[in-house]
């Protein structure tokens, strides 16, 4: 039991966890969804835009007949890119198949998370036989047969509400050491009271659409004008295996879905961007002209561009598998911080000395003053106890620990400082729903299901226990 033959290990990994248990394997993963990511990476590397990998231990490549040493303090196993293999083609990237595989492997759990969030019995949604819809599971493989086009729209609107209502946050990336969550991971994260950034939330919608076989299109957004050759740039990056510069002008990701022959543009970002659910006519206007939005203080015009499915799949796949420090980029480089809610922005910065700290305090305080906001508070290890809200204090404390652990640089001698910036200026907040959609939905208000309203406090406390 202290050695595992490599080819047997690959056989094990090619199975879903349920299958493996049925086959008699005794191995239990600590996190089934992380195992799923690894399984897809190793079993279908081309779907994840990777070359096949080999295992290595103590610098020695292990071939199929070799064995992995599992004794006591055995050395870690490295995954090594098979440089002999061909460069993966971006056309092979297949999110839809990955989503289906993941759903097949974890159906019970995923349905449980989605059901908990949607609370379908309270939605009064009826199927084509006029019976109340009780569970998401009923619609798998028969979404179009199960619901009329109007009810399909109502269902997807509820989905959009649920995802939009989940917080725009990056805390959970550090707490779970996951730089970017894919669609199925997002449903678990949302069910736990967390959320994510725009691309992750779009991934959640994409996952659900793939499971329900709803056609989708990806839409990218940027504060900069979108280059005419954006697909070419993307292709160059994808075929360079990370050598070409990241197309960093891509700052936003949305999705269009097709229901009953009509396309709808959805933006579920939140973080003070109102829910967007537009019919094609309104969506065309938004895509032609962009739209203004403000998450914290700056008003920015987001330019939009429709793109083929492969491009959206590739962007989500790159984010998931190819940018290991993406959570640091979101928080520090893009300035999205750890949380953007209607009341509060929680940012963070690196501080490697008193002078830097004073400069950053000056910067954030100046921003507050120029935007007529209350002045921010700066929280570090030494004054964490002064955060009156116990839950927030606990969350910051745990995040600080994770930040330190995940930012492993021998050259860095400073620490992280949190910025708590109250957002006191009002935001436009009503959902932007096309008239045709409102009409189809019937009389409002469109109250999101109660499970979404659960706060992070419960989650953190439960996890802590």
């Amino acid at each position: 039991m202290d050695r595992w033959k490599v080819e047997n290990f690959f056989d094990y990994l090619a199975m879903s966890e349920g299958q493996a248990q049925a086959e008699g394997y005794l191995v239990e993963s600590s996190d089934p969804l992380s195992r799923e990511s690894l399984r897809q990476f190793i079993t279908w590397p081309e779907w994840t835009l990777n070359r096949p990998v080999k295992l290595a231990q103590e610098g020695r490549i292990l071939n199929g007949e070799d064995s992995i040493d599992l004794q006591g303090d055995c050395p870690a196993i490295d995954l090594v890119k098979d440089s002999q293999s061909t460069v993966p083609k971006f056309q092979d990237c297949n999110l839809e198949k990955r989503h289906r595989e993941a759903f097949l492997a974890h159906r019970t759990q995923i349905v449980g998370w989605i059901d908990r969030l949607l609370d379908l019995p309270t939605s009064m949604l009826r199927n084509t036989s006029e019976e109340p819809v009780q569970t998401f599971d009923e619609m798998i493989g028969r979404f179009v047969k199960c619901l009329t086009p109007t009810n399909q729209l109502k269902f997807m609107f509820r989905i959009a509400q649920v995802v939009h209502q989940s917080p725009f946050e990056n805390f959970s990336k550090f707490l779970g050491a996951v730089p970017f969550r894919c669609g199925y991971e997002m449903w678990r994260n949302i069910s736990l009271g967390f959320g994510g950034v725009c691309a992750e939330k779009t991934a959640a919608i994409q996952f659900l659409c793939d499971i329900l076989e709803i056609p989708t299109r990806s839409v990218l957004g940027s504060r900069q004008p979108i280059p005419g050759n954006f697909l070419e740039q993307l292709e160059t990056y994808l075929t360079s295996e990370g050598e070409a510069p990241l197309p960093i002008w891509i700052q936003h990701l949305l999705i269009e879905i097709e229901i009953g022959g009509c396309w709808y543009l959805i933006d579920v970002t939140n973080g003070n961007i109102p829910l967007l659910f537009l019919d094609e006519a309104d969506a065309d206007l938004f895509i032609q002209n962009g739209y203004r939005s403000r998450m914290i203080s700056n008003v920015e015009c987001l330019n939009l561009q429709r793109m083929p499915r492969w491009a959206g799949d590739a962007l989500l796949t790159i984010s998931e598998y190819h940018v290991p420090d993406l959570h640091f980029r979101y928080v520090f480089d893009q300035g999205l911080g750890l949380l953007i809610s209607r009341e509060l922005f929680v940012g963070a910065f690196f501080s490697w000395g008193q002078e830097v700290q004073a400069r950053m305090e000056n910067h954030f305080s100046s921003l507050a003053r120029s935007n007529r906001l209350l002045f921010p508070r700066f929280v570090h290890e030494g004054n964490l106890q002064s955060v009156a809200d116990e839950f927030l204090q606990e969350l910051l404390c745990e995040t600080l620990r994770c930040l330190r652990e995940q930012y492993r640089s021998n050259y860095y001698t400073g620490d992280f400082i949190f910025v708590l910036q109250p957002l006191t200026t009002p935001f436009w907040q009503h959902p932007r729903i096309s008239r045709s959609v409102s009409k189809a939905l019937g009389p409002g208000p469109f109250v999101p299901p109660p499970a979404v309203a659960q706060n992070l406090r419960e989650t953190i406390l439960r996890d802590a226990e």
């Binding site: 008003v299 570090h380 009002p426 935001f427």
Partner: protein, 356 residues
């Protein structure tokens, strides 16, 4: 009067009722609506093609143009596709404001008055001009700001503050009036606002705060009424109806000492730079309140004394002092000062302190 809103549009200059506004007669004009302190760049706007509509009331132009769903076809969706959605949101605020479901106040940006605008006033009285630096746009604008009114200071909180610090404002009022000279002080003590105090009849007293506060000062031996002077019958040779006792005089002396100390100690921190640390910089941060807190001072008392000292003419002068005591606008100022205090780190405060 303090301007309530003076929001600027980047790349443009805004002027409220400039002399040259008649030059724009005969041209279309804009209604712009923003929310509270939210930036103008994200505001809603509607271009009114009819130049004569400036003679209508604000309510009329809102209902006829800017907040009229039937006018959605005239919105500039080619430039800003979100405008119809902003209009829907504003209509909701406006309608709920009308029914009282929402306390909605509407201000005019750059209006010198700090009061909400009367919607029945004609538009022309509140028009401004917005001129872009690159001359791409130059137009008249009714620059409205919608504010969902929420009380800045909860009544209970105001009451608690009054209970704890009201006596300070009353002592400073008496001192202020006393410094105006004997005749002015005598007249002050015979003003009708004292009726509740002197007649001991608090039913229907329009100044219950003031009366209760003075009763308390009397009980604490700080003021003394003259029983032989009949209140409310002013004659040319009349005497003041009350005086400050030695205890009261001592309390006022202490107040002045504290004021002086606070001014000396904390005024240097009125406009500072945290990085590099420097005092008395132009357009710096006001860290006085945070510094007071750092020194474990009773911040409310310190701020209140500074505010009352700085603006004693506004609060205690003229004939509105009793209304002022009743509505306690100075407590609101204290509340704002506390809410808008800076939160620099101890290290920054220490480095600033070392510069003194």
């Amino acid at each position: 009067m303090n301007q309530k809103f003076k929001k600027e549009l980047p790349g443009a200059d805004s002027f409220f009722q400039p002399d040259y506004i008649p030059n724009y007669d005969g041209y279309p004009w804009d209604i712009r609506i923003s929310l509270g302190e939210a930036p103008l760049e994200e505001s809603y706007y509607f271009t009114v093609q009819d130049p004569e509509a400036i003679h209508l009331s604000i309510r009329e132009v809102l209902e006829k143009f800017a907040l009229n769903r039937e006018q959605q076809g005239n919105l500039d969706v080619a430039q800003y596709p979100e405008l119809p959605f902003l209009q829907e949101e504003l209509i909701l605020y406006f309608e709920n404001g009308k029914t009282g479901q929402l306390g909605l106040e509407i201000f005019v940006n750059h209006n010198p008055s700090s009061n909400p605008v009367d919607l029945d006033d004609p538009v022309e009285r509140y028009l401004g001009v917005c001129t872009f630096h690159d001359n791409s746009f130059d137009y008249r604008v009714l620059d409205l700001v919608f504010v969902a009114a929420v009380p800045d200071l909860e009544p209970e909180e105001a009451e608690n503050l009054w209970e704890a610090y009201g006596h300070l404002s009353l002592l400073m009022l008496i001192d202020y009036k006393y410094r105006q000279g004997p005749q002015a002080f005598t007249t002050f003590t015979h003003e009708s606002s004292w009726a509740g105090f002197f007649n001991k009849n608090t039913i229907g007293d329009p100044y219950p705060h003031f009366t209760a506060g003075m009763v308390r000062l009397e009980k604490e031996g700080m003021i003394r009424r003259f029983d032989d002077v009949r209140f409310g019958y002013p004659r040319s040779d009349m005497s003041a109806a009350l005086e400050l006792t030695p205890i009261g005089q001592e309390a006022i002396r202490e107040i002045h000492e504290k004021e002086k100390l606070y001014a000396q100690t904390y005024d240097p921190f009125f406009s500072v730079s945290p990085s590099p640390p420097a005092l008395d910089v132009p357009d710096g941060f006001d860290v006085r309140v945070q510094m007071m807190e750092y020194d474990n001072l009773d911040c409310v008392e310190a701020i209140l004394l500074r505010i009352l000292d700085d603006q004693e003419d506004e609060y205690f002068g003229g004939d509105q002092w009793a209304n002022c005591i009743e509505s306690v606008p100075f407590l609101l100022r204290v509340h704002e000062a506390l809410a808008y205090k800076t939160h620099f780190s101890t290290e920054v405060l220490q480095s600033l302190k070392s510069l003194e």
